[in-house]
């Protein structure tokens, strides 16, 4: 947590590392260069946090985990090349070469994309009620990671050889072998993207077979997995009593994860409204119109946004009450579904009493 806070604060003092060669003074470049190298320290702390989280645990290589480990390894390499570029003199030499291109792809592909994909595969069943196909997920991962290294590692070498970025053509024979390797890598990444599309298509096709009946497909530790998949509109019929960091895990161990509440209460919920989505679309139109100087459209979009806000702000009935009876009916259906659900495929983890996962369901 402290490391995250440190990164958050330090991140305000590194932005000029994008502009070392713009002609600012040596003092300015030194300051931002030093801050940029320092930010690697709390980042390293976080990497060790993640490693120690896994240490002595039993790691199960499902697609979200694969992407997470791929992130860890690849992100560290990208970070190290970033520390090199953080030195202004080095940046003067490497600036505008493919070394830089390799570096920032080495950060954003694991740091952002792999993170997105891990999260997408992890929480997809919670949001949509069925699991994503693991075979195609694993295939997409291997294509992505192999393709990534083949596509971007040669760019480091090419950058050191002096190849500028954004070239329309080149006539240096020495670059050719590296660029061919990079092209092969790009093709493998493309196959990885196709795998992702196939994974989604196959999962939607098999959605009945791969339904997440328990709401807990990963034998999870945190409370979102205590709800059904997808969750009821109110999330929890009664607020759970949290006694540990891994509250749901702890509840499963105590055998109280699936206890029926003694009674149900009415729940006040916000009504569904299309207004935020409408404002989003109108704001997009507004931005487009302003960028291209289409003034009539800008005025129209702004008026539409204002009107939508006025309509929303004049609405006295934005909430509704879900009666206890209906809450009870939804929860009863959930317990009936739980009773029918096959045991979780991940319950055989050591330290977890497999049979008790559904204890309390009667």
């Amino acid at each position: 947590m402290l490391a995250t806070v440190a990164i958050g604060i330090l991140s305000f003092t590194v932005w000029l590392h994008h502009f070392f060669t713009m002609g600012s003074s040596a003092d300015v470049n030194s300051f931002f260069g030093i801050m940029t190298t320092i930010i690697a320290v709390p980042t390293g702390v976080k990497v060790f946090d993640w490693l120690l989280t896994m240490y002595r645990g039993r790691i199960i290589f499902k697609p979200p985990m694969l992407y997470t480990i791929g992130f860890l390894v690849t992100f560290v390499i990208g970070g190290l090349s970033g520390v090199l570029l953080a030195l202004p003199p080095v940046d003067y030499a490497m600036h505008n070469t493919t070394f830089l291109v390799a570096h920032f792809h080495n950060m954003i592909i694991p740091g952002v994309l792999f993170g997105y994909l891990a999260g997408y595969m992890f929480w997809f069943p919670k949001a949509f009620g069925f699991k994503l196909n693991e075979t195609w997920g694993t295939r997409s991962f291997w294509c992505w990671i192999v393709g990534f290294y083949l596509a971007f590692m040669p760019l480091y070498v090419l950058g050191l050889m002096g190849m500028p970025r954004r070239m329309e053509h080149y006539d240096i024979a020495a670059w050719q072998p590296h660029l061919i390797v990079a092209a092969v890598g790009a093709f493998i990444i493309f196959v990885g993207i196709v795998c992702l599309a196939v994974q989604l298509a196959v999962s939607i096709r098999d959605r009945v077979k791969v339904r997440d009946l328990t709401g807990d497909p990963w034998n999870g530790r945190t409370l979102e997995w205590a709800t059904s998949s997808p969750p009821a509109p109110y999330n929890f019929a009664v607020v759970p009593d949290v006694q540990s960091v891994d509250a749901f895990w702890d509840m499963k161990h105590r055998g109280v994860a699936y206890e029926r509440p003694k009674r149900y209460a009415d729940i006040a919920l916000p009504k569904n409204t299309f207004i935020p989505a409408f404002i989003g679309v109108a704001a997009f139109v507004f931005g487009f119109a302003v960028i291209w100087y289409i003034w009539w459209l800008a005025i129209l979009a702004l008026a539409a946004i204002t009107l939508a806000i006025i309509i929303r702000a004049s609405d006295d009935e934005t909430d509704f009450v879900l009666p206890a009876q209906e809450v009870k009916a939804i929860e009863e259906a959930r317990f009936a579904q739980l009773a029918k659900a096959p045991p979780n495929e991940m319950v055989d983890e050591p330290g977890f009493a497999g049979g008790t996962i559904l204890e309390g369901v009667s």
Partner: protein, 204 residues
Amino acid sequence: MTAGAFDTIETAALPASEAQKFEERAFGFWIYLMSDAIIFALLFATYLVMLGNTAGGPTGQLLFSLERAAAETALLLLSSVTFGFATVALALNSRLRVIQWLLVTAVLGVAFLFLEYGEFGGMIAEGAGPDRSGFLSAFFALVGTHGLHVSAGVIWIFVMIGQVLTKGLTSPVASRVMRLGLFWHFLDIIWIGIFSVVYLPGLT
């Protein structure tokens, strides 16, 4: 038996009372105001940093008029007082008085905008628009953002007049008027900052 995970808190999901709901909304509105204050803090800081960067163009001494700035300040401060009267009328549950004072507030706000519009138009006509220098970019960004807020506030006063007319002083309407009041007084405070950071030092 182990303690049931779901036994202890049974009432937390009950519908919140109306008063509590409005209190929560007021709190949310305060958070919005504070984030808006951060935006203005950044614009003030930018203005102060850019103050000297006139690129050979006109300085504040040449452009600002103390009479106009004083009139703008008077209008806005007075409008805060009249909004205060609207709030008092709200507490007295007098629908007519609320509408009257909101109308007065809106007229004062429009008069302020009218003066500011004249000021901006005159500056741009003299070739002292936001594209003239870093100083003027920062000036228009800061004062213009405040002006946009006042414009939104005026629109909102008319929306609330409409709600008081059609719905009466129901508790949702009253709570909205109170939040609009927070917004209006907040803009007054920002203006005092603009008056003391932009106009007064700019003229001396």
